[in-house]
Symmetry: C2
Subunit: 218 residues, 2 copies
């Protein structure tokens, strides 16, 4: 009985890592849809989000089962509570990718992003996607050092966002209101994806050390 219990705990971690990779794919694919005005890819992100939601439900159901049947204490309990929070983060990250995909879809066959801001948005997306990938590794390896390093990527995201505002609010901005609104919202979506990646990493720190990191996220 006890062995089956530990197997279940291990397999929850595997499922968390798999779910994180699913979300990473959603981030990457929605960005690609955005930067190439690819309606089909955008649709794929939107329809595949049901799989992310299903992964959350499956992992949650197993956590509840363990809580109810095994009455775990100490570090096992902490792991289950952390997992419940991580799947909530991951589901939101999937939703945010759907928002990116919907902006892309809305503007097809046009590109939503004027050329001069493509590099900034590309960079934001790359930072977000890399952070999600790192989070997967951090969860799999319980990598506390990696988790602490992830916070720094978040600062890069803030800088990119500020730089996008500088461009849009400059006197020579020639693209009007619509792309500016799109970019402000896209920047927010990528920033939130990054915040959730940091949040995943912090939960691993909590899991391993019992220590809560409280610095504020957006």
């Amino acid at each position: 009985m006890r062995d089956a219990y530990f197997d279940q705990l291990d397999s929850i971690v595997d499922d968390l890592v798999a779910m994180t990779h699913e979300v990473q794919t959603a981030v990457s694919r929605s960005t690609s849809a955005l930067l190439t005005a690819d309606a089909e890819k955008a649709e794929r992100v939107i329809s595949d989000d049901a799989d992310v939601d299903a992964a959350r439900e499956k992992i949650e159901a197993r956590c509840f089962e363990l809580l109810a049947l095994q009455q775990p204490v100490a570090s096992d309990l902490r792991m289950i509570v952390a997992t419940l929070r991580m799947v909530a983060d991951l589901e939101r990250m999937g939703d945010l990718s759907v928002h990116v995909a919907k902006v892309a879809r809305l503007r097809v066959p046009e590109l939503a992003i004027p050329g001069e801001l493509v590099p900034t948005i590309e960079r934001m997306a790359a930072v977000a996607e890399r952070m999600v990938g790192q989070a997967a590794g951090i969860i799999a390896e319980r990598d506390v050092e990696g988790a602490r390093a992830l916070e720094e990527s978040d600062e890069e995201m803030d800088q990119l966002r500020r730089s996008s505002f500088r461009v849009m609010l400059a006197d020579d901005w020639a693209h009007g209101v619509e792309p500016a609104v799109d970019i402000a919202l896209l920047g927010r979506y990528y920033e939130r994806i990054a915040d959730h990646a940091v949040s995943l990493a912090r939960r691993v720190v909590y899991l391993v050390t019992g220590e809560t990191v409280t610095a504020d996220l957006g």
Copy 2:
């Protein structure tokens, strides 16, 4: 021992309701700061957010204590898990009010919102604040009917947001990019506050009926 345990469960609900009212105040005060360009009120929302965070930590700590020491099962376990999620929603709602306050502060002594969009933003804020107030009542009374009704307010929010986009993207929009970006983000913040209020209500439904409401939020 068992009596003290039930007292603790009851007092967690009281604390949740109190925390919800704190968040309601933050929503209301940040809106007032926004609509009157009141820097002092904006600062107050920003500094008071530490209290919201502290409320979350306090409630979480007590949930963990109950989980570890009492090993609750069935409906008590469900209540504690739902509480952990509700405090996460509430903390985010507090953060979103801080974002509203920061937009207000950034534009002082100017108003962030052009006159023609003040009624729309006022209405969005009123809907969000009302939903937070209703969520408090729903939590206090375990009001499943009220929880189901709350979903409808969320549709009103969607309509208001669409209407704000129509105004900003019309040919006769004379205010340029900056207020449009502010309004797009403010709309997003109020929409997310409303989403979290719906999420609080759904957790009460789950708590009382065991039934999960899965319709998607933004």
